[in-house]
Symmetry: C2
Subunit: 207 residues, 2 copies
DNA sequence: ATATAATTAAAACGTACGTTTGAATAAATA
DNA sequence: TATTTATTCAAACGTACGTTTTAATTATAT
């Protein structure tokens, strides 16, 4: 048996698509760019994924699943430790999973971050496809914030948490650039960035 | 004489290009979409602007100029009133100009906001073309923040102010949507949103 | 009114797009 | 080994892209 050759092709396509869409956006990335850089045949995309849009969905799923899992696990652990975690605790748990992904192998460090950033600014229906993959963790963290700040209205917390996501994504996209919060993928730097960003957001959300 | 017909065509193209790029992004907008909706000939784009990229630059310039002017004027007035304005004062001045643009005629209310949002997430070189149009006011406000918070390092303020811009743009893009900060273009609502967002950001930046 | 310039129009340029097809090749089953 | 299935490949499908060209039209000025 060899699903070997098959999965190689499939993963190569996913890797390259993630890289190019992160760099150029969905509309700016052509399947011919993808297969050329991946070293596979053009028809392989439709054989394995069906269409360009389905390929995008596959890339998003591959990225979102572990992030959402980590986030929900971190939140659960936090709630097991403390009865009512602070806003800063909650935000730290929320930020840790995606930002620690920046610690992965150097090659795909920024790529994954930039891809997630693109997801939120792509035109419909691309944006919605991405959003629904992250929806589960967003709801859970919003509930946690509501318990920590019972005096704030739900709609208030909603737009504040939305801005927190916007900030997280901005930090991810700018990682490594001249004046960004995250300068290197060194564990200490990333941990410090998580703390600084959690403090920034906790202050704003609590205000 | 009639530069009449000419400026009509030119402005129609600018209007429609702004609308479509706001909705679909630069790569997702075709010149044939533009001229079809604008009711002008395809060649008119190249006659008046030279290329698709130059058309984009023209749209950005038309939007950015009044915003930057208003922002710098508001900052100057603030610094004339108070010797050392508070962080919240500064952020309010920064937010007021772009958010008050949402008070314009209902038709183009969200369009302009979404366009500015797109500018920051477009792939290069589109993003840079847009960024340089807003650069002047960014530097001025960063300087003002530095004077209000002399204990924070420049690089700290830089990523914080960058996140403030990200938040501003997110608020603009989401305006009118279900759980957004800005629900209507009613002057009172917008003014309240400016206050809330200024408080959110001032807390984060000062933290 | 006539000549000159500015603007619009229709059509085609070459290129690249996402997708489909049908044959060739490799792998798995019998 | 023979046969069926899964995968790769080269080529072409029709469509749409940004841009250019050339001619018709409109306005300005002599």
């Amino acid at each position: 048996m060899s699903t070997e050759a098959s999965t190689d092709t499939k993963e190569q396509i996913l890797n390259v698509a993630e890289y190019l869409i992160a760099e150029r956006g969905f509309a700016g990335t052509t399947l011919r760019n993808v297969v050329s850089m991946a070293g596979v045949n053009l028809a392989a995309v439709h054989y394995h994924f069906g269409s360009k849009e389905e390929l995008f969905r596959a890339v998003v799923e591959r990225i979102a699943r572990p992030v959402v899992e980590h986030e929900l696990a971190a939140l659960k652990q936090l709630q097991d430790e403390k009865k009512t975690p602070s806003v800063e605790d909650i935000m730290t748990a929320f930020l840790a999973a995606p930002l620690n992904l920046l610690l992965g192998d150097e090659s795909s460090r920024t790529v994954r971050a930039q891809f997630m950033g693109r997801c939120r600014s792509e035109p419909e229906p691309i944006q919605s496809i991405a959003a629904q993959e992250f929806d589960a963790s967003c709801q859970a963290f919003l509930d946690a914030l509501q318990r920590a700040l019972p005096d704030q209205s739900r709609s208030q917390l909603q737009w504040k948490f939305d801005l927190a996501i916007a900030a997280l994504i901005r930090v991810q996209m700018e990682a490594g650039q001249p004046h960004a919060l995250i300068q290197s993928s060194h564990p200490d730097d990333v941990q410090q960035a998580i703390s600084a960003l959690a403090a920034f957001l906790a202050a704003g959300i609590s205000a």
